[in-house]
């Protein structure tokens, strides 16, 4: 297929297959113009780093430069397929504006310097702060886009060396609720399901998950099932008319912030219709009686008024789920970034627990991730958790980790829960965290309430280190900027949503003096003189493979067991799913087969939290509740969102992404095809609201909340009335202002509110009360929104869009 078509035709041609069949191979590839495959010097194995699906592919190299990509046909995840971001996104790392030398702020300006100079400044400041205040002065804020080896090293350096509790990743913004929901229900993080559950399911339910745009290849798999014999029924919960919604048997478009009410209605119907597998529930779970009592109040009629969804639709969705032979559920930001995030995501787990549908082919739960290596941020402890899904409130787990690291248990901060990203920012704000080291993320655009975020991170008294591949908005505020090597310029492993581990080999050299994140962290540890209890270096490795082998030992015997994996084993062939051990050398397709969980008080990763207050559950309480380590059914009442529309702000704002971009566009905007497909911010409004507020396609509109204002061109779409959508990709690095708005805002997070889920601490991006007004008429040009995705114009179908 000609590559240019894959911008317009995102998902490519169908390769139908029947229920229980093998998903056929289809190899997608893209080579730089004028090149033929014969001119490629070599192909280097890797996987996607522009989304969380983990699609395996090879990078084409010629004369020391990347020149294209080709999907790996043998891989279990994608069977050769690639989405638009992987076909075109690789070009970004060869962009001429890469960071190539360290920068240090002198007289208010960032100037180039040597690595020695830069690291001397960083080390000097760290040591001074440790002496003066101690570890509580230092925070680390990382990402979901580095490699496993880098996170593990960072976790060791921060927890075991600096001994700070202030470590988190931007996974807090994308996947914290996935982790928390899994911990709450199953005692430990770890994805129960597998992508192969798509092959076997007769019902696929997607909760707040626009998979067509977030994981295009997983959607291709579902589309191929839908095109084959014995297709599954699809249930979609989403306020936007996504491609998933259009393919769904039942589409529920609830009012933002009401997911728990909706889930309780579905559970109410499962109970009322006698679709509970009572024997399974009795044998494998605790907490059912509470749930039964809670959901009794949530009849479809009652919930219909809360969510503004027809009761009949709730009933049909519940019937389809209740009668499913093999139910696959997936969950993403529509739940995770909304009000009562963990409570809602846990109710999806409960659907499966009530129906006894877990650990068997087709019976999967995929609490999705947003980023390529978010899974590793979580399991290595770079999100603040203890490495290897160990429990920070279980003394023997702390001792075990101290043994692995050869340090004293008391050296590992574990007296309180790890400080989450939003709280880290709060401590930076109040001045008690005085040094923040940001790696591979851009909080000045991606965190809520940007005016506040800019004022926090631009404080004189803060020492800000930013490690990145480009001079992002955040890097522009830094005191020291460390130029990092990108994916493709370093070797390492990472793990996707369904626990598939891939190896990504170095294909080309990093530009200038840029160094891998691993090298930077190891260098910092060495210069700091961090030691274990025998006076030996704390970090005992310098290469990626050595770091991986150290992680294998750290993970041995834990749920995320990598002990049976090695670089050699990951070379060639397909990625492999953890746990991979001597007993299961080919990996493990599904967790929790036979209803056995990692939830006993001795084994669990956490004793859980109160889903409404966020307070950690005490050990004794957990022991009383769940002595035998069954799955925990946690019910929750619906509570109204914290910010409800009023006269001044009558609409609800939700933010989200488009298929062509990733995060704050640092990479995707530097790939010409992707940038052209979605070049600038737009705002989606419904037909009803367009009429009410006198808006037409292409008009310039102003969206305001109590926090700020953003200007964008109007797209009149099929979004539910009362809801306004803004993509969150557009910041300021490619505007004249550099890191902040000029006269008017462009970044969606100018408008979002500083507020988070009590249990997962994930910020809420999807319930802000807002107003929209027209600023200027359009000139007949449509808004810059893509026409072939959830942002499709409501008028004239997509006739124009196909031509784009």
């Amino acid at each position: 297929m000609p590559t240019e078509d894959r911008i317009a035709d995102v998902w490519g041609d169908r390769t139908p297959y029947p229920r229980g069949g093998d998903w056929p191979v289809r190899v997608d590839a893209h080579l730089a113009a004028d090149l033929s495959p014969g001119e490629v010097d070599r192909w280097v194995q890797t996987a996607s780093t522009l989304h969380s699906n983990g699609d395996a592919f090879d990078v084409a190299v010629r004369d020391g430069r990347m020149v294209g990509v080709r999907g790996r046909p043998d891989d279990r995840v994608n069977r050769g397929r690639l989405g638009p971001k992987d076909l075109f996104g690789w070009q970004a790392i060869q962009s001429p504006d890469r960071l190539t030398r360290p920068l240090v702020r002198r007289d208010g300006r960032l100037v180039e310097c040597s690595w020695d100079e830069a690291m001397d400044v960083v080390v000097g400041r760290t040591q001074a702060l440790l002496e003066e205040q101690g570890p509580s002065a230092v925070g680390f804020y990382t990402t979901g886009q580095l490699f496993l080896e880098e996170y593990y090293t960072l976790a060791l350096v921060a927890h075991g060396g600096i001994r700070t509790n202030h470590v988190d990743g931007n996974t807090r913004l994308c996947t914290a609720t996935a982790a928390e929901a899994l911990k709450e229900s199953f005692g430990s993080d770890g994805q129960p399901g597998s992508y192969t559950d798509v092959d076997h399911a007769d019902v696929i339910a997607l909760f707040g998950h626009n998979v067509a745009e977030t994981q295009t290849v997983l959607w291709m798999r579902i589309l191929d099932r839908l095109a084959g014999d014995d297709p599954p029924e699809v249930i979609c919960v989403d306020p936007r008319p996504t491609p998933v919604a259009r393919a769904a048997t039942v589409h529920l478009a609830p009012r933002p912030g009401t997911n728990v009410a909706l889930m309780n209605a579905l559970l109410h119907e499962i109970v009322a219709n006698g679709h509970v597998d009572e024997a399974w529930v009795t044998a494998h779970t605790v907490g059912y009686a509470d749930l039964e009592k809670t959901v009794a109040r949530y009849t479809p009629e009652v919930v219909s008024t809360i969510c503004d969804v027809p009761a009949a639709d709730i009933r049909s969705a519940a019937r389809i789920i209740g009668e499913a032979e093999a139910l696959l559920s997936t969950v993403l930001q529509g739940f995770y970034q909304s009000h009562q995030a963990t409570a809602a995501a846990v109710q999806v787990n409960n659907l499966h627990l009530l129906r006894g549908m877990i650990g068997r082919p087709g019976c999967g739960i995929l609490q999705m991730n947003g980023q390529p290596s978010a899974q590793n941020t979580r399991e290595c402890g770079a999100d603040g958790d203890m490495a290897g899904f160990r429990n920070w409130s279980n003394r023997s787990h702390v001792e075990d980790l101290a043994r692995v690291w050869n340090i004293e248990p008391k050296q590992i901060p574990h007296a309180t829960p790890p400080t989450h990203a939003m709280q880290i920012m709060r401590y930076v704000e109040d001045g008690s965290i005085r040094m923040l080291w940001v790696s591979g993320t851009n909080p000045v655009v991606s965190m809520p309430e940007l005016a506040r975020m800019r004022s926090i991170l631009s404080q004189e008294r803060l020492f800000l280190v930013v490690q990145d591949i480009f001079l992002t908005e955040t890097a522009q505020l830094a005191d020291v900027v460390l130029p990092a090597a990108a994916w493709g310029e370093k070797t390492g492993a990472f793990t996707n949503v369904d626990r598939t581990v891939h190896l990504s080999e170095k294909a080309v050299d990093p530009p200038g003096e840029a160094r891998s994140d691993l090298d930077i962290f190891v260098d910092f540890a060495t210069r700091m003189g961090l030691q274990d209890k025998d006076g030996q270096p704390l970090v005992k490795w310098s290469t990626a493979e050595e770091a991986f082998d150290a992680w294998r030992e750290c993970s041995r015997g834990r749920p995320c067991d990598y002990s049976g994996l090695s670089y050699d084993k990951l070379r060639g062939g397909s990625g492999i799913q953890w746990p991979c051990t001597d007993e299961s050398p080919d990996g493990t397709e599904r967790l929790y087969a036979g209803g056995t969980f990692w939830a006993s008080p001795e084994e669990c990763e956490t004793f859980g939290r109160d889903l409404e207050t966020g307070a950690p559950v005490e050990e004794q309480e957990y022991r009383a509740l769940n002595p035998f380590g069954r799955a925990v059914i946690k019910s929750s009442d619906y509570r109204p969102p914290h910010e409800i529309p009023d006269e001044d702000h009558p609409l609800q704002l939700i933010t989200g992404r488009t298929v062509y971009h990733f995060h704050t566009r640092t990479r995707t905007a530097r790939a010409p095809e992707l940038q052209a497909a979605a070049p600038d911010v737009w705002v989606e409004v419904s037909v009803t609201d367009a009429q009410t507020y006198g808006l037409a396609e292409g008009d310039l509109a102003e969206v305001t909340t109590a926090r700020g204002e953003v200007r964008a061109r109007v797209r009149v779409s099929g979004i539910r009335p009362g809801v306004v959508f803004l993509p969150f990709h557009y910041g300021y690095w490619d505007t004249g202002e550099g890191w902040r708005p000029g006269d008017h805002g462009r970044a969606a997070n100018e408008l979002t509110r500083t507020d988070w889920d009590p249990a997962s601490k994930q910020p809420i991006f999807k319930t802000a009360a807002c107003a929209v007004r027209k600023v200027a008429d359009g000139d007949g040009t449509p808004s810059p929104a893509p026409d072939n995705t959830a942002s499709a114009p409501v008028a004239a179908a997509t006739a124009e869009g196909v031509e784009r």
């Binding site: 509790n165 309180t416 704000e429 109040d430 008690s432 109160d610 409404e612």
Partner: protein, 160 residues
């Protein structure tokens, strides 16, 4: 029978707890979690106040069902102060002390509910027992929250 007397005390203490939670929420607006949760948990105590007033008549007490705690001018001024004062490490310590106040008040309310629950069992008063059991569980969650927040914030408050 002295159940009425204890209900009157409880009514007073729940009002005080709600007021304290709202005050703490207001004073620490810069700490979004404390602000948000303070307001939310104050609603629980306000609801308890209404429910106590509703049942107290059966025990010879006439209690006001309207919870206290509407912000006054002084509190508005405090809010102004709080938003500007949030940029100092000292604010952490003030917050931990305020949370300690919440914890102590919630603990005493918890004990009151315990007493009511015991009495309700003795006189086999189903309605009162149901109320006491439900409210006691919620009060415990309020106390647990305050305690957890204290644990979480102490290091940062004390070691700066």
């Amino acid at each position: 029978m002295r159940i009425g007397t204890v209900l009157r005390d409880l009514h007073h203490d729940e009002n005080e707890l709600a007021r304290t939670l709202l005050r703490v929420a207001d004073e620490h607006r810069a700490d979004h979690e404390v602000h948000q949760m303070g307001v939310h948990l104050a609603e629980w105590s306000s609801r308890h106040v209404r429910e106590i007033a509703a049942i107290a008549g059966s025990f010879g007490e006439n209690l006001d069902p309207t919870p206290d705690g509407t912000p006054t001018l002084v509190e508005e001024a405090r809010r102004w102060m709080s938003e500007r004062g949030g940029r100092s490490p000292e604010s952490e310590l003030v917050m931990v002390r305020d949370l300690r106040d919440v914890y102590l008040r919630a603990s005493s309310v918890l004990t009151d509910w315990e007493m009511i629950g015991q009495a309700a069992q003795a006189i086999v008063h189903d309605e009162l027992l149901e109320l006491a059991t439900r409210c006691q569980a919620e009060t415990k969650r309020q106390a647990t929250w305050a305690n957890a927040k204290i644990k979480e914030s102490s290091t940062q408050a004390l070691v700066v």
